[in-house]
């Protein structure tokens, strides 16, 4: 009955809102940051900040070492075979766009099919819709079951002309933890790659890209106790080498002539321009922090909170609440979307705010899924290492109050 990480590590959580202490339940949108991350970044700016690469002087060398150490940290965190497989981007969205532009332009042709699922975040939908527009390829959607799982029963036919599968590891709306193994097998049986949107899984459970067998994964630092402005694309070395560069500019070249340029070796080929240097330092600190907690402990903690929340919400609110996604809490991360009877999600969130409880309301950048669920929006509570049972008790009490207020 406690948090996994000391709440006191997270300065923002000691804040009050409307005279109430804060109950932050929106970590699926973005996580709060521990002191350790904030200090690492501040310290970088104060003691060894300079632009990276190419600088000969001490501070530039220290900054470069710190930046490259962050890359190694990420590689270790996701069990990459090589550090050079880690590309820093602005976030999950930028990573998926890198794939859809660069891999897409080299591989998609008229009539090809890109397979995604109905539970994808827009970051794994729109880039492919754009790639399809550019190339003449088409999207095919893996449907979902009524219990919020991927429905793989029709996979064979979906994969007919497929050139790639791109799916999320965890739904940011339903909380579903997808079993990716059959998709990885199906993709590789057909010699096509599979890309994984790990925005909601990397922060919450251990990732081993080699065991997973996917060809690329993407995630954002800001959902993982890290800063805004940086994310990761991991992809197999062979894939990164095979696809053309995406953004052009400094650092990604080995030579520029009047008649053309040569790209630098991987990963620099995908590192055009001044990278998010201090953000990389922050990401490394976040990874150290999570690793010290242990990613398995993080996953267990969230399962425990999810189970507690589903139990309490159902027992206290009964018929008045509808929870979307898997009914078995062990099949989901700490993300719970719901509908409160006769109260619009916006109003739910507004009233909860009055109680200091922060939940998200909206389509959660998953409009195709909203269409399937046949709702315009949902309210969503999500948990992380700094949450505990009493946060959920406050959520339940505030929901009860919100319902009474409107009905």
């Amino acid at each position: 009955m406690s948090t996994l990480a000391p709440k006191s590590d997270f300065p923002l959580l000691s804040r009050e809102v409307h005279g109430k202490s804060l109950t932050y339940l929106d970590s699926a949108a973005s996580a709060q940051k521990p002191e350790q991350v904030l200090r690492a970044m501040d310290d970088a700016y104060r003691t060894y900040y300079a632009n990276v690469h190419r600088g000969v002087y001490t501070i530039a060398e220290e900054a470069t070492q710190a930046f490259e150490a962050a890359r190694r940290s990420v590689a270790r965190f996701i069990h990459a075979e090589r550090t050079s497989e880690v590309v820093f981007t602005q976030g999950t969205t930028a990573s998926m766009n890198l794939l859809s532009y660069s891999w897409g332009s080299a591989n998609l042709r008229d009539g090809d099919v890109v397979v995604i699922s109905q539970m994808e975040h827009h970051a794994n939908v729109v880039p492919w819709q754009m790639a399809c527009e550019r190339t003449g390829a088409e999207l095919a959607w893996i449907p979902i079951t009524s219990d919020g799982h991927l429905d793989l029963s029709g996979l064979e036919s979906l994969l007919q002309r497929a050139k790639v599968i791109s799916v999320t590891a965890v739904s940011n709306v339903l909380g579903t933890i997808n079993d990716l193994a059959p998709l990885v097998t199906a993709a590789h049986d057909r010699n096509i790659p599979i890309f994984v949107d790990a925005a909601q899984s990397a922060p919450h459970q251990a990732i081993d890209v080699q065991a997973l067998g996917a060809d690329a994964i993407a995630f954002s630092a800001h959902k993982l106790l890290g800063p805004t402005g940086i994310g990761v694309l991991w992809a197999r070395q062979s894939l990164l080498e095979a696809i053309p560069p995406f953004l052009g500019g400094g650092e990604m070249i080995s030579d520029v002539r009047f008649d053309g340029f040569d790209a630098a070796p991987v990963p620099h080929k995908f590192g055009a321009g001044t990278p998010p240097i201090v953000e990389a330092v922050g990401l490394r600190a976040a990874i150290d922090y999570l690793s010290a907690l242990g990613m398995d402990a993080v996953a267990d903690h969230e399962h425990r909170l999810a189970a507690y929340a589903m139990d309490r919400l159902q027992s206290e609110l009964g018929e008045r609440i509808k929870i979307f996604g898997p009914s078995n809490p062990s099949e989901r991360c700490g993300v719970i979307s719901f509908e409160l009877e006769a109260v619009h999600p916006h109003d739910v969130s507004q009233v909860l705010d009055e109680h200091g409880v922060c939940v998200r309301a909206g389509h959660h950048c998953a409009k195709p899924l909203m269409r399937i669920l046949d709702v315009p929006a949902t309210a969503r509570a999500s948990f992380y290492v700094y949450n505990e049972e009493s946060d959920i008790d406050r959520l339940v009490a505030a929901l009860d109050a919100a319902h009474r207020f409107f009905v």
């Binding site: 916006h346 109003d347 507004q350 909206g362 389509h363 315009p376 409107f406």
Partner: protein
């Protein structure tokens, strides 16, 4: 910090729970206008029966939060039977109450720095609509309140063609 009672006045909740003029009108002859707030999914549908420069009848549909739906209901009650020039005056009075700047260097949803509008500067009587005044203290929700009015403007423009 503004409290919930500023936002959810009793009369708003009343319009939300028991919306006026729900339904449809055959279109044509009525004009059907639809408004959509992409950020939150609020949806407003208005059926307008405009004859001889007067809003003879209005029906509403759509779904969304209490503010957008109450605002739709209150709008329908406020404009039914009114001549078009009065409706346009009311619309601009309402929008100015919501203090939305269309000024270039301000953001679309930005509220004014001045005191939130009371009764419209043009002296238009706002009646129940004044209850929506509290919304300006919650900038995120202003779009919910104005959606119906923007949809109305759109519908009336169409009716004029």
């Amino acid at each position: 910090m503004p409290g919930l009672e500023d936002l959810y006045r009793e009369i708003i909740l009343d319009h939300y729970r028991a919306p006026r003029n729900r339904g449809e009108l055959a279109s044509p002859p009525a004009v059907r206008a639809e408004g959509f707030n992409p950020l939150c999914g609020d949806e407003v549908v208005l059926y307008l029966d405009v004859e001889d420069g007067v809003v003879k009848d209005i029906k509403t549909a759509g779904r969304g939060c209490s503010i957008s739906q109450a605002s739709t209901s209150m709008l329908s009650a406020a404009v039914i039977g009114k001549p078009l020039d009065e409706v346009r005056q009311l619309t601009s009075a309402f929008k100015s109450m919501m203090s939305i700047h269309e000024s270039n260097l301000e953001n679309e949803t930005e509220t004014s720095q001045d005191e939130p509008g009371t009764v419209s500067s043009d002296g238009v009587r706002m009646g129940d609509l004044e209850a929506l005044q509290g919304v300006v203290k919650f900038p995120v929700r202003i779009k919910c309140a104005t959606l119906a009015w923007n949809t109305l403007t759109q519908g009336l423009d169409e009716a004029a063609n």
